[in-house]
């Protein structure tokens, strides 16, 4: 069944979108990531204009994160105070990101920037995760004890604040910076930034793993919500019909994915996720490196 998307102005198969939403939903349920980093490139592949894909994906992430954060709130695994600090950085970052996005759009380089961001971040995170989970599998085989957390430079910075739920007493500067970076990425890449935020919270801020996912989801709702509003008011690129189709598939898939995830080992899951991230990264990198079959592209002119 073909559906005409009012903002993207293209006609696409509704079942394809539901299927994509479901597939990415399953993966995000299995691995505990938002799935935006997979969905946005997939939307490029099926011919959604990149600007619409990025803005609409932000809107869809609001739905999946909200669904996730409700579950975490019930389990009391959300550090609201840390979330708020991250959020302040995130909102500033999102505003900066939309400004950068619009500037590059006027230069005609927005596709390149978005693709480069994807290649770099997916490549780095995929490789790190792959190596880390391989090591973890080897260690569990040997039965070695887990590594202890060290005190680093982060603990010497001023403006310290107590985060009771996370059991931390640290400066507010690192969380603000982490929030800022993720906010910029969220606006440019159309992702919630969970796949960057989660490692940053564990390794940089030293937060306990059990509160990380909930807290990350909490602040992602606001950052992506803010991004959606900015894209809607400045670029008019949020396609609500596309968002609804994706999120219907997504929320159903997420629940199925959670069931699969429960039956698998954490290291196996992480290795699978790493391989998937690297595969998407490889495909995008090839598109940049190989000579395209059509060298020219057509866009509506700016400023008319």
């Amino acid at each position: 069944m073909q559906i005409y998307l009012p903002i993207a102005e293209v006609s696409v198969n509704a079942f394809l979108l539901l299927g994509l939403g479901g597939l990415v939903g399953i993966l995000s349920g299995m691995f505990g990531v938002g799935g935006g980093f997979l969905m946005t490139p997939l939307l490029f592949f099926i011919g959604i204009p990149p600007a619409v894909a990025v803005a609409t994906e932000a809107n869809q992430i609001v739905a999946s994160s909200f669904s996730g954060v409700l579950a975490h709130l019930r389990r009391k695994t959300v550090d609201l105070r840390m979330g708020t600090v991250l959020l302040i950085g995130g909102l500033v970052g999102a505003a900066l990101g939309v400004v950068i996005f619009n500037y590059l759009k006027s230069l005609g380089q927005v596709d390149l920037l978005v693709r480069l961001c994807y290649v770099v971040f997916l490549g780095v995170i995929g490789s790190l995760m792959f190596v880390e989970s391989l090591n973890a599998i080897r260690k569990t085989a040997k039965g070695a004890p887990p590594v202890k957390r060290k005190h680093t430079l982060i603990h010497k910075l001023p403006f310290k604040m107590r985060f009771r739920v996370s059991g931390l007493y640290i400066s507010v500067i690192p969380p603000l910076l982490v929030g800022l970076c993720v906010g910029i990425l969220a606006a440019i890449m159309g992702v919630g930034g969970g796949f960057i935020m989660v490692p940053a919270m564990i390794y940089l801020l030293g937060m306990p793993t059990k509160v990380v996912v909930g807290t990350s989801l909490f602040q992602i709702i606001f950052v992506t919500g803010f991004t959606t509003l900015l894209h809607a008011t400045t670029n008019f690129t949020v396609d609500v019909v596309l968002a609804v189709l994706l999120l219907v598939g997504g929320v159903i898939g997420a629940q199925i994915g959670t069931q699969i995830g429960v039956r698998m080992k954490a290291e196996q899951l992480r290795i699978l996720l790493a391989l998937m991230v690297l595969a998407v990264c490889g495909k995008l990198a090839l598109d940049l490196l190989l000579m395209p079959s059509e060298l020219y592209s057509v866009r509506a002119a700016e400023g008319h």
């Binding site: 073909q2 009012p6 380089q109 968002a243 395209p292």
Partner: protein, 250 residues
Amino acid sequence: MRWLLAFLLIANVSVAEEVVLGLSQDEVAITTQFDGSEILIFGAVKREEAIPEGPPLQVIVTVAGPSEPVTVRRKEKRFGIWVNTDAVEVDRAPSFYAVATSGLLREVLSNVEDLRNKISVPRAIRSVGAPMSINDAGSFTEALIRIRRANQLYQLLENQVVVDDQTLFRTSIRLPAALTEGAYRTRIFLTRKGKVISQYETSIDVRKVGLERWLFTLSREMPLIYGLMSLAIAIAAGWGASAAFRLIRN
């Protein structure tokens, strides 16, 4: 008075053969299920006198979507990756353009007439100013035509107009699913020996209707409300899914 008479005579000669047109529809509604549309354009040639001697009457039908300026960009390899470098702005390019003819276009229409009436695809595009740094501006317009042709947005349908007894003609033009809104200017030319002897113009209204119309207008006129509505839908869906699956599990 003599002037007026002379004018009337010319006018009379030029409408010796005239088009009477019919359209299968003068409106195309883009609904949520819109998947392209086929328009049947048919008509008759009204004439006061006998069919003139010589080569037969030829018919050209053009359908043009609203024109807009577009930017055509070219990729080049820089630092090992393919990036957009040169850009040419084309001043006016129809978002959709179809030409259907009763014979080969170059046989039914002379070059001069094509220039005057802007009938063939390259003539329908207007490109004046390319930046000084670009020497091959022509390849950008060619690329525009090539890309839009591949997407069925530009169509050259030679021998697709059926003409019966030099009087009745009909053709059908397929509008693709990815259409923009607006008045689609539809022109019919009657030609003999490559010269346009009569033309007729009307327009087909293509517009989003219902939900499509409402959402599109809302997103442009009240973007803040539209954005908030999108967020509300997302949050409601997230909450709904969470609640529904909790019910199923219990």
